[in-house]
C-alpha cells in the first residue's frame, strides 16, 4: 500500500502585519513529505523558510491554507491542543541549543519527559540512553557551560529524540558552530534520524548542509522554487 505522507500542506499563505504594511512571508506553499525523509529547507534570509518551519511545527498559525501533519489539521487546533500535538509528535533542535544552563546534560535531556508525566527513574534511564547514542556518556553530569558547542548541540539532539517523536524540526542547527563541528553535528543528526526512521525538517541557509538531506526544498520570496532529491541520500 502506498504510504501516507506525514506532512501535507496546501496553499499556505502567511501574511505579517508590520506597522500598517502587510508583508507576505509565504505566498502559497504546497509541500508533501513522506515519513522517514530528511528534508532541508534552504533559502536566503527573508525567504520565509523559518516561517514555514514554525508553521509546520504549529508554533505559528497560517493566514490561510491547510497544514496536515500526521493526519491532523494544525490550522484547526487551539494553542493547548497544539502543545499536546507537539508533545506527541514533534522534537526540536535549536540554533542556539537552548539548553537550561542550570541543569546538567542528563537533566536537560530528561526535562521534556517531565512535561509528559514520565516518572523520574524512567526519565533518567531514557535520557542516559539518548545521551549514549549521541556519544555523550562521559558528559552526563556536565552543565552546558562546561561543554563545547558541538557537545551542547548533541545534548540538544538527544533532548529532541528522547521523547521519541515522529518528526524532528531543526532551525539552523549548525548556525552557531564552526564548519568542522557543523559537519560532525550534521552527521550525528542525520545518522540518528535514519537509524530511527524519523522525519527531519531542517532549515538552513548553508548549501553545504543541504547536501546531507534526501530532499532539498528551495524557497525564495515565500514560494518554493525547486525541490531536489539527492541520489546519494536515496542509496544511504
Amino acid at each position: 500500500m502506498e504510504q501516507k505522507p506525514i506532512i501535507d500542506i496546501r496553499d499556505v499563505i502567511k501574511t505579517y502585519r508590520v506597522g500598517s504594511v502587510d508583508v507576505q512571508a509565504l505566498r502559497g506553499v504546497d509541500l508533501v513529505i513522506m515519513p522517514g525523509e530528511l528534508c532541508c529547507i534552504i533559502g536566503r534570509s527573508g525567504s520565509g523558510k523559518s516561517t514555514l518551519l514554525n508553521m509546520l511545527a504549529g508554533l505559528e498559525p497560517a493566514t490561510s491554507g491547510q497544514i496536515i501533519i500526521n493526519n491532523q489539521h494544525l490550522e484547526r487546533m487551539t494553542e493547548s491542543e497544539l502543545i499536546v500535538f507537539r508533545q506527541k509528535n514533534v522534537g526540536f533542535i535549536f540554533q542556539s541549543f537552548n539548553l537550561m544552563p542550570y541543569y546538567t546534560a542528563l537533566e536537560n535531556v530528561a526535562f521534556p519527559l517531565s512535561f509528559r508525566g514520565v516518572p523520574n527513574a524512567q526519565r533518567l534511564k531514557r535520557a542516559k540512553e539518548a545521551l549514549r547514542v549521541m556519544g555523550l556518556s562521559d558528559h552526563m553530569r556536565h552543565k552546558p557551560s562546561q561543554m563545547s558547542g558541538g557537545q551542547q548541540q548533541r545534548v540538544g539532539i538527544a533532548r529532541a529524540l528522547v521523547t521519541d517523536p515522529e518528526i524532528i524540526f531543526a532551525d539552523e542547527p549548525t548556525g552557531n558552530l564552526d564548519s568542522n563541528t557543523s559537519d560532525e553535528v550534521m552527521h550525528a543528526i542525520c545518522d540518528t534520524m535514519r537509524a530511527n526512521g524519523k522525519t527531519l525538517i531542517m532549515v538552513t541557509h548553508d548549501p553545504n548542509m543541504a547536501a546531507f538531506a534526501d530532499k532539498v526544498i528551495n524557497l525564495l520570496d515565500g514560494r518554493i522554487t525547486d525541490i531536489q532529491c539527492n541520489a546519494r541520500a536515496k542509496i544511504g
Binding site: E79, S80, F94, S96, R116
Partner: protein
Amino acid sequence: MKAGDLLRIALLNLWRRKLRAFLTVLGMVIGTSSIVVMVSLGIGIRQATVESYASYGSLTNISVNSWRWVDNGDGSGTSTEKKLNKKSVEAFKKIPGVKVVMPVITTWGMLKSGKYVSDASIMGIDAALAEEFGIELGEGRYPGYKRGSSNYEIALSQDTLNWFRDPKTGKEARDKDGNPKVTLGSRFQLTFDYNSIYNNQPARVNEGFPTDDEPPQGQLYRVSAVGMTEPNTGDFSWYCLMDIDALKKLAAENKAFVSLDTDNYQSVIVKCENTDVVAQVKAAIDEMGFGTNSLQDMLEQAEKQLQQIQLLLGAIGGVSLLVAAIGIMNTMMMSIYERTREIGIIKVLGCRMHNIAGLFLCEAAYIGLFGGALGILVSYGLSLVINLFIGSSGFKSVIPPYLVLGALAFSVMVALFSGLYPALRAMRLSPLTAIRSE
C-alpha cells in the same frame, strides 16, 4: 506533568534567584508578621475585655426579673410587670439552650454574734445549683435546709464578717492586734428586726406580748455558719447565702419586718448551655414579657467598639501585606521578562499551558508559604516582646492557633493572587520567541 515535578522545578527556579527570592520573602515576612501582631493585639484586647466581664459574673447567665421596660420609641416607655413564679421557672427550663434555672430571692437581715452586730444581704439559693451559677465558696459548704426544721444554716460573705461592730459604741469587733473577734466559728443569731437590734427605740416592757399599737419584736434565730463565700467573684460574692426554702420560711415568719413576696421570685437566673445561645434564650424570655439582662449584652456592646479597633489594627497590618503582595507581583513579573526565552523553550519542549501557569503560581505560593511561616515565627517573637515590656492587663498580644493557620493560608492566598497575573502572562507568551535566532 506530575505535581511533585512541578513543585520541585518551581522551588529550583526560586533557588536560582536566591537573593531576589529572599528579599521578596522578607517583604512577605514583614507583611505577615505585621498583620499577625496587629490582629493578635486585637484578640488580646478582646480577650482581656471578655475576661474582665467574666470576672463580674458568668457570661452564660441571664438574670430575669418581673419588670419589663417597654420602649415607646420616642424616649419614653412604660414598665410592665409579670410575676415570676414556679410556673415561669418551668417555662424557662423548656427553652432550648437553657441548662439550668435558679430562682433567687434576696432580703436583708442582721447577724448578731455576742455583743457585735453586722448587716447582711441574704440570698436564697438552691445548694444543688449554686456552683453551677458561679456562686463560689471560699471555705465550708453551701447551706442546706431540712424542710420544717428550725435548724438554719448560712454561708457568710467576707463583707458581712468584716462589718461586725458594737451597735452602741460603733467599735469594730477586733482585738488590740486588729484580729477579728468574730470568725466563722463564732455563734450567730439572725434577726430581721432592725429597730430592736440597734436599740433605736426604748426597751419594751411587755416583752413577748406585743400589743396592737406597738410593733412586735423580731425573733432571734440561731444560725450556724457553714461556709464563707469567695470574695470578689462574680455577681453574688457580697451576699450571705441561705437555702431558699429556709429564707422563705423566715421571711414568712417576719412579715412585719420583711416585705418579701414568698409566692413569687424577685428574680430568676437562667444559665445557658453556651455563650452562643444566650442571645436567643434572652429573646425568648423577653417574648414572655419578663425583663432580662445579661453580661453578654454589655459584652456585645463592648465588642462592637472593639471590632472597630480590630478593624483598624488589621488595616494597619494589611497595608504592609499589600506592599508585600505588590512585591511578589513585581518579582514574578521581572522573572517573566528574564525568563521569556526559557518559558518559550519549555513550551516548545511540550510543557502544557496550565503547567506553565502552575509553575509560576507555585513559585508565588512558595514565597507566600515561606514568608508566612517565617512571619509567624517573627510574630511570636514580637508578641513575646510586647507582652514582656509594654503589655498590661488590658493590652496584650495573643496568637491563637487559628490565627497561625489563618495567617499562613492568607499569605499563601495573597501570594497566589499576586502571582495570578504574572502566571497568565507567562502562559500566554509565544513559544516563537524561544527559537527565534538572536
